[in-house]
Each structure stands twice: as C-alpha cells, then as structure tokens.
C-alpha cells in the first residue's frame, strides 16, 4: 500500500517531464521506423536480386548489424559520425536505430517475398509479364500484407529499444527516468513508472495494429 502511494506521488511529480520525454521517444521511434523500412526494403531487394554484388552487400550489412549489439552501434555512429559532421544526439540515435532495424526488416520483407507461392510468379510470367511487372503487381502487394504482423512486432521492439539512446544523452523517457531517480532517490518507483509509460504505448500500438490487420482481412 505504501509502495502504491509513493508510485502515485512519483507519477504526479514527474508526469510533465515524462510526457515531454515520451514525445521524444515517439519521434525517435517514428524516424527510426521510416528509415528502417526504407533500408529494409532496399536490402531485401538487393538480397533477392540476381546480382551477386548486391546480394553480397546486403549479406554483409545484415550480418554486421545483427551480429553486434545495438548499444555499440549507437555509440559507434554517435562518436564516429560526429567527428565528420555535426549531428545531434537525437539524429545520431534515430539513424542508428534506423540502420539497426533495416537489417531485421530486410529479413522480414525477404521472407515474405520468398514465401509467396511460386505459382503466382509462374502465372504472371505465363501471361507475359516481365519479372519486374510481376514483382510490382503480383508479388509485392501480397508480400507486404504478409509482412504486417512481423513488422508490427519489430515496431514494438524498436519503441522499447529507443530507450538505449539515453547513452548519448537524448532526453527521452528512459533518460528522464534516470534523471528523476537521481533527484528523488526513489529509484524503484521511478523505474516502475517509466516502465508503465512503455507498457501503455505498446498496448496502444498493439491495439491499432490488430485493428488494421482485421481491416485488411475484411477487405480481402
């Protein structure tokens, strides 16, 4: 009971700061997802292309990104790039998250594209479509739809992973929690509260995703 009371106190004392920080979390997640989707599509296309060189580039990218911790990538980008161009923590973090997600999203897209029954390609070929036409008109629309559930999952992971950019001083939710906890000496309660923010965001997102999936299903 005592704990609940302190949690509530901490919540009431911190929500102005947390709401502001939440906005930054959402912004950085949004930028990361847009970049990640663009990179993902690009590398998925390279991976299924018939060019050995493009395939190799995509494989190297995916291997390196999946094989190293996100926090290392964030640090590398922040300290690596800022020696060349001036980049705010926000943008360094968003780009790092985008590149990171690109590798996973590329695999999601590749899997979805290759999962489309080869009869679809054969049917479109037999009607005289070129490889590009059949990709654009027949395979992609179906693959995109099939990617939505795993993409949603990836989006949730990104939202939570964005907390790691606290390490380069981006004032997002987790960074804010650190700062508050250092001031109010109520670490347990503060981290419980910030966990609650993430939980609520994820639940809202999950709900929206389910609504969208149902809508797609009805349309078909």
């Amino acid at each position: 009971m005592e704990l609940l009371k302190t949690i509530f106190e901490v919540f009431m004392n911190t929500y102005p700061g947390f709401l502001e920080a939440m906005l930054i979390t959402l912004q950085i997640t949004a930028v990361a997802l847009i970049l990640g989707t663009v990179f993902g599509l690009m590398f998925a296309l390279m991976k299924i292309s018939r060019s050995r060189i493009l395939q190799t580039i995509a494989n190297v990218y995916i291997t390196i990104i999946r094989g190293t911790p996100l926090i290392v990538q964030i640090m590398f980008l922040y300290f690596g790039i800022t020696t060349l161009v001036v980049l705010s923590g926000f943008w360094a973090g968003a780009i790092a998250l985008g590149i990171h997600n690109g590798a996973y999203i590329a695999e999601i897209f590749r899997g979805a594209i290759q999962g489309i029954d080869k009869g679809q390609r054969e049917a479109s070929s037999s009607l005289g479509m070129t490889r590009a036409q059949s990709m654009r008109r027949i395979v992609f629309p179906q693959a995109l739809k099939r990617s939505i559930p795993p993409l949603g999952n990836q989006f949730i992971i990104t939202l939570k992973d964005s907390s790691l950019v606290y390490i380069i001083s981006v004032p997002e939710l987790f960074a804010m929690a650190n700062r508050e906890a250092a001031q109010n000496f109520k670490s347990l309660e503060t981290y419980l509260v910030v966990g609650g923010y993430y939980l609520v965001l994820v639940m809202i997102f999950t709900y929206l995703l389910r609504w969208y999936e149902n809508k797609l299903d009805v349309d078909k």
């Binding site: 054969e122 009607l127 070129t130 036409q133």
Partner: protein, 240 residues
C-alpha cells in the same frame, strides 16, 4: 502453330524428356496422357518456357524461339497456360484478375479491358462473380476464371496442365464444358489430363508419353480401339 523438335530436358541427372517431336496445327486439340513422371507436364512447361530445354528447338508460328535473344515475356504472352492449382491472384477481384495482363502487358486502356473482361467472364459463366475475390469461389469457378484470364491475352495456343486434377469430382464437368466450347470455337489447345472421356470426345489427337518419349500418337478412335504399344494398352486398361 506450335512445333517442338528433339526436345530434351533434364533436372540434374534425371532426363525427363528424351527427344520429343511434336507439331500442333492451328485449331488442333492435342491431349497428352501418360503415367505420372512420364514428362507430360514438363513438356507443357517447356512450351511456355517456364522450363528451359537443354536441347532441341521450339517454333511458334514458324518463328524459332531463342530463349537467349528473344524476350520471353513477349512469347509467353502468345502461349496461354492454365494451371492445376489455378494460381489466381488472391489480392485482386475476379475481374481484376482477368484484366490485369491486358492492361499491364498489352497496355490496353482500362475501359476496354473491362469490356473484354466482362465478355470473357460471361463466356465462362461467371458474370455475377466479377467483383468477388477468388477466396470466395469454388475450385471449378476458380479454374474458369483462370481460363478467362488466359483468354484475355488472346493467346495463339492454350496449354492446360491437369486443369481438373485439383477439383472435387462434381466440379470437373463445368470446367471441361468450357474447354470443350473453346475447342469448338477453334482454339489451339494442348491438354494434359486424366479425363479420358474428354480426350475421347474433344481431342483430335491423343499422345501417350512414357519415360520421356512419345510412344503413341493417334486419333481417339485408334488410340482407344487399336493402340500399337504394349504400355498404351496397359494404360488404357488402367484408366478406362
């Protein structure tokens, strides 16, 4: 119309077609039969260049196709194919399935394509299903849509790869009826099928494949009444 000479096709070490010579005349209906693994589906797929032959030549309308130089998409547009598993596009309505290739490949105007598409759907008896998605159709209806979709490209030859093998028995008739109608209208067709009644009634010629070779080629009456090859006799006993 369509002529294959000395066609050889191997998958790895397995030689599936061992020198096939087959010429199909305009408006002719040729039925290919044979036990499973005899190479009949592979032969059909070679004619549509879904498989690349290892040796031999294929001529379409007197033009010898060179898969390296010719644009295969152009040639495939002239040779329609109906698949065992229909392969309709699930993300498009029935009408969209039919008009897709004319619009994308032939650059036909959408209004014109819709007129054509509706005519073809009427022909296969599915006018009322134009705006429905394929998932709502029975197997027989799906296959009739697939036929309409092939016809929309106005192919010179139509290839059927076991078009009724995936259907429930009660749905086979409606598809065969459409095919018979097409044959009557003079469509050139090569049909791989196990429907012997269809072969007997519709085919101009029945060809028996065995282990990658043509062992019998005759009109239906001779084929069923007086086959020369021992394997053909066995086959007819099995299916009749």
């Amino acid at each position: 119309m369509l002529k294959g000479s000395n066609i050889h096709k191997s998958f790895g070490d397995l030689e599936v077609l061992k020198g096939i010579d087959l010429e199909v005349a305009p408006s002719e209906v040729v039925v290919l039969v044979g036990v499973s693994g005899s190479g009949k589906s592979t032969l059909l797929r070679c004619f549509n260049f879904l498989e690349h032959i290892n040796q031999g030549t294929i001529e379409i309308d007197g033009h010898e196709v060179n898969p390296k130089k010719d644009k295969l998409s152009k040639i495939r547009a002239e040779v329609g194919m109906v698949f065992q598993h229909f392969n309709l596009f699930p993300h498009m309505t029935v009408l969209e399935n039919v008009i897709e290739a004319p619009i994308i490949v032939k650059k036909m105007k959408k209004e014109d394509a819709i007129v054509l598409g509706k005519q073809l759907l009427e022909k296969v008896g599915l006018s009322d299903k134009a705006d429905v998605y394929p998932s709502k159709l029975s197997g027989g209806q799906k296959q009739r849509v697939a036929i309409a979709r092939s016809l929309a490209m106005e192919p010179k030859v139509l290839l059927f790869d076991e078009p009724t093998s995936a259907l429930d028995p009660e749905l086979v008739g409606e598809v065969l009826e459409v095919m018979q109608q097409l044959a009557l209208e003079g469509m050139t067709m090569i049909v791989v099928t196990h429907e012997m009644k269809f072969a007997r009634n519709v085919a101009n010629r029945i060809i028996m494949l065995d282990e990658g070779r043509i062992i019998e080629s005759a009109d239906p009456e001779t084929f069923f009444g007086n086959p020369t090859h021992e394997r053909t006799k066995q086959f007819i006993k099995l299916v009749d």
